[in-house]
C-alpha cells in the first residue's frame, strides 16, 4: 500500500534549499489530522506558496490524489533551487504539481483569483533584521523580518485574493509572529480560524492554523455595515484561549539550523 505522505529518503536536497524540519512535519501532520475534512472538501485546485524541498506539496498530492481524483496542484517558491528540488521530490513519488519560480504568487493574482480551494503555507517566520528578507537562496526560507511577519503579511492578502468562496488556508506560525493577532486580522476579512496542530520544542512553539471563510461573519459584517472593527471581547477571549502561554515571551528558532 502506498505511503500517504512523502518519504524523507525520496525528498530531494540542495545546499541552498531548506530541508524538511519540525515546521514542515507539523504542517503535514495538520493536513493528516484534517484529512477526512479535506477528502470531503474535494478541492479542485490546491496551491503551496513557498514549496521548499517539496515535502508538503508532495504529501498533499499523495493524500488527495491527482487529476484522476479531480485535483490540480500549483506550487511556487522564490528560490529557483527550491523549485527544482520540489520537482525532483514530486517525480520520485510519482506525483505531479505545476511549479512556478515566483515571489509568493506574482503572475497568478489576475487569473487565479477566487480559484484556490486549499492553500498551504510554511512561511519564512523567523524574526530577522528586515534587510535579510527576500535574500537569495536558503535565507528566503526563514528570514521573516520584524516579528517574522514581513512575508506573512504579504502572503495573507494574496491568500484572501486567491482563495475560492470555499477556500481553506493552512499556515505555520511561530509564537513570536503573534498568531492571535493574525487570527484577528483574518477575522476582519471574514475568516474563521482554528489551531489544527500545536507543537512546542525547546527552541520554538509552532502552531498550524487553518483559516476558512466564515459566511456567518460576512453576513454579520454586511448587516452592521462594518467588517468587525470592534471585536467582541468574547471573540478575543476565545482566540486567546487557543494560544496558552502566548505571553510576550519571544521564542528562539531552529529554522536556520
Amino acid at each position: 500500500m502506498p505511503s500517504k505522505i512523502a518519504q524523507i529518503r525520496l525528498v530531494g536536497s540542495h545546499f541552498e534549499v531548506y530541508e524538511p524540519c519540525d515546521d514542515s512535519f507539523a504542517l503535514v501532520d495538520a493536513l493528516l489530522a484534517d484529512l477526512t475534512n479535506l477528502l470531503e472538501h474535494k478541492p479542485k485546485l490546491c496551491m503551496e506558496v513557498g514549496c521548499g524541498s517539496g515535502y508538503v506539496i508532495t504529501s498533499l498530492a499523495l493524500m488527495l490524489g491527482q487529476v484522476a481524483c479531480g485535483t490540480y496542484y500549483i506550487a511556487t517558491d522564490i528560490n529557483p533551487y527550491a523549485v527544482k528540488v520540489t520537482s525532483e521530490t514530486l517525480e520520485a513519488h510519482g506525483v505531479h504539481a505545476e511549479l512556478i519560480t515566483t515571489d509568493i504568487a506574482s503572475g497568478l493574482e489576475k487569473r487565479l483569483t477566487g480559484l484556490v480551494d486549499v492553500m498551504v503555507v510554511n512561511p519564512p517566520y523567523v524574526p530577522t533584521p528586515e534587510e535579510e528578507v527576500g535574500c537569495d537562496g536558503i535565507a528566503s526560507a526563514w528570514a521573516g523580518g520584524e516579528n517574522g511577519r514581513s512575508v506573512i503579511d504579504k502572503i495573507l492578502p494574496m491568500a484572501d485574493k486567491l482563495l475560492s468562496d470555499r477556500g481553506w488556508l493552512y499556515m505555520v506560525t511561530l509564537t513570536a509572529n503573534n498568531p492571535s493577532e493574525i487570527c484577528l486580522q483574518m477575522r476582519e476579512k471574514g475568516y474563521a480560524s482554528r489551531i489544527v496542530v500545536q507543537r512546542s520544542t525547546e527552541e520554538e512553539s509552532l502552531h498550524v492554523i487553518k483559516f476558512w471563510r466564515d459566511s456567518d461573519r460576512l453576513l454579520e459584517a454586511s448587516e452592521t455595515g462594518t467588517v468587525n472593527k470592534i471585536v467582541p471581547t468574547r471573540v478575543i477571549e476565545s482566540l486567546l484561549s487557543h494560544f496558552p502561554g502566548i505571553s510576550l515571551r519571544r521564542s528562539g528558532n531552529s529554522k536556520s539550523s
Binding site: I74, I78, L115
Partner: protein, 122 residues
C-alpha cells in the same frame, strides 16, 4: 508547464496593464499521459480563457482545438479528449513566455517558468 497553468499566468511587470496571455516560444514540448477525467474538464472549462488556450496550443504545435467553444461542446467525447490533451498532457518543457506588452521574456527551463522580476520591474 501545462497549458492550463499558462492560462492562469500573466506578466507581472510593474505598470503592465495588458499582460495576458503570455506568448509562447516553444523549444521543446513533451507529452505526459494523464488519466482522463471529464468532470475535471467540465469544472475547469468556465475558468478558461479559450482564445488564449487555442493560441497556446497552436504555439506548441497542437491544432485540434476549435476557434470558439461553448459549454454545449462538453457533451462531445471528441471535444473533451482534445481539451484533455491540450490542457493537461502537453507540457512546455523548454522555451519562454513573452510579455505581450513589453516583449520581456520569462524563461521556461525543465518545465518551470521563472517569473522573478528584476529590481526595476517590481
Amino acid at each position: 508547464m501545462r497549458l492550463l497553468t499558462h492560462n492562469m499566468l500573466s506578466s507581472n511587470i510593474k505598470g503592465v496593464t495588458n499582460g495576458f496571455p503570455l506568448l509562447i516560444e516553444a523549444e521543446k514540448v513533451v507529452e505526459k499521459p494523464v488519466d482522463f477525467n471529464p468532470d475535471f474538464l467540465r469544472n475547469i472549462f468556465p475558468k478558461i480563457d479559450w482564445k488564449a488556450l487555442v493560441a497556446a496550443a497552436r504555439a506548441v504545435g497542437y491544432g485540434e482545438l476549435p476557434d470558439t467553444a461553448d459549454a454545449a461542446m462538453l457533451e462531445s467525447d471528441d471535444f473533451l479528449r482534445h481539451l484533455h490533451h491540450a490542457l493537461l498532457q502537453l507540457h512546455l518543457e523548454e522555451g519562454a513566455l513573452v510579455c505581450p506588452e513589453t516583449g520581456r521574456r520569462f524563461p521556461v527551463n525543465k518545465g518551470i517558468p521563472n517569473m522573478l522580476l528584476h529590481e526595476d520591474e517590481v
